[in-house]
Amino acid sequence: MSDPILDLQNLNAYYGDFQALYGVDLTLQPNEVVAVIGANGAGKSTLMKSITGMISNDPGAVRFHGDSIGALRADQIAAKGIALVPEGRQLFPSLSVEENLLIGGKVGRSGAWNLSKVYDLFPVLRERRSQSSTSLSGGQQQMVAIGRALMANPELILFDEISLGLAPVVIKQIYSALPDIVGEGMSALIVEQDISKALSVSSRVFCMMEGRIALESKTSEVTHDQITAAYFGVEA
């Protein structure tokens, strides 16, 4: 195994006095796609916030290419090459589709992704480039959110609940684009409620429960019973 691109060691995260993550250990290798699953409130979104700097943690608890980034601001972490496709898409409503994408490029990292490449990946966005982002359908908005993250040319991209609230046909469309995305030498961390979708694109899976990692396994080796046990906290 090569050196991990992302290395979480004994990560504890807090919202004020409330502790949301307890000693989470997780590593991600270059070009690897890892899925994080778990029930609501298991700590998946907190994990995302901790990695991207929306929550400040112990500096050494989050390492990216060996650098301690746990206490950096979100913009500093973005500049190092981590991008997030946030839950609920969270586009900028007063910006057009193209402006949303351009904001993603503000990080100023050079690489393979640019406007025309994002438009090639999602041709419908090219047609709607000057529309308000709020006028798009949910699936199209999700494409903008993914494109916006890609515009930063990250080395690691985090997907937070990208299928939430979307029609199955749209989810299928979005997931079929994933290989094109991570094929560009990018690592990805996918947080999903839709377990089968998450497992279908990842090589390893982590299951979270009550702020802890309850299961870590290769996707090819994990059993249905193991997931059920880790997901619900009961022995099947």
């Binding site: 700097g53 913009d75 946030p86």
Partner: protein, 287 residues
């Protein structure tokens, strides 16, 4: 003809009020900060221009070159050093802190410059006028109005056509996500305040050439600015010009009946607009 003259004067006066309002609108639009010290900062800029003209012996228009960058720099430092720390989910701290700032600025000006009314000496342009079919139009009010239109057009351009404006709007929409996109909101807010205080500097100099000023009149300018913003509609930069003009015309027409009615009629116009259109005449347009 006297009435037409009053209306024209009111429109031109509205340009000055629009400049008061533009800075307020910008600050509120980007960071949801209601700046109670805005009027006092206008007066502060006027005094800064007064000091510049006296120390260097230059015309107030030349003082612009010094006061605008100084105020912009002050704005950036003020935002990053003080106001950023007050921003959060609670709207009270920024109100209290800018209110405190207002008291501090007034008293500091009082200590340094005393309560005597002062004025910037603009020279012949202050009294020069042109006659347009019987209506005398002062060059200074005309220039003030032109500058206001120019500045508002410039702000509009920056907001909707440049990368900086895109960052302003993104941060205004969603601070956390904007930060994820690599935008440091502390810096963006600093830039917005710098830009607002650059406009304040111009407004202060034009005010100081038009009328006399003393440390206590900032509060009144804040009210005019607020009223222009609200009349025009929150978040609409061109709306501030419309708001300023309506306020200005209401004031000059009121003054035509009785000079004592000038301020009152402005407030009445404001209340009327608020009663009919609670969101202002031109609330925020989606782009």
């Amino acid at each position: 003809m006297e009435w037409i003259s009053a209306i024209v004067q009111g429109i031109l006066l509205g340009g000055l009020y629009a400049l008061f309002a533009a800075g307020l609108s910008l600050i509120f639009g980007v960071m949801r900060l209601v700046n109670i010290a805005h009027g006092d900062l206008i007066i502060f800029a006027a005094y800064m221009a007064l000091s510049t003209t006296m120390l260097l012996g230059v015309h107030p228009f030349v003082a612009v070159l010094i006061v605008v960058p100084l105020m912009a720099g002050l704005g950036y430092l003020l935002q990053r050093g003080l106001l950023n720390h007050t921003l959060g989910s609670d709207i009270l701290p920024p109100l209290l802190v800018t209110f405190g700032l207002s008291v501090i600025i007034q008293n500091a000006l009082l200590e340094v410059f005393t309560a005597d009314p002062r004025k910037l000496n603009g020279g012949p342009i202050e009294t020069a006028s042109i006659d347009l079919v019987g209506v005398g139009i002062g060059w200074l009010p005309l220039l003030t109005f032109a500058i206001a239109v120019g500045i508002i057009a410039g702000l509009q351009y920056i907001f909707y056509r440049t990368e900086l404006g895109r960052s302003f709007r993104a941060v205004s929409d969603n601070q956390d996500i904007a930060q994820l996109m690599g935008l440091n909101k502390a810096h963006i807010f600093g830039l917005a305040m710098a830009m607002a205080l650059a406009v304040v500097a111009v407004a202060g100099i034009l005010l100081g050439m038009r009328t006399s000023f003393d440390p206590a009149i900032g509060g009144g300018r804040l009210i005019f600015g607020f009223e222009a913003v609200i009349i025009g509609g929150l978040g609409n930069i061109w709306g501030t010009l419309a708001g300023g003009v309506i306020l200005g015309v209401a004031q000059t027409i009121g003054a035509k009946f009785d000079p004592g009615y000038q301020i009152l009629s402005g407030h009445i116009a404001f209340l009327l607009v608020l009663a009919v259109r609670p969101n202002g005449l031109f609330p925020r347009v989606e782009h």
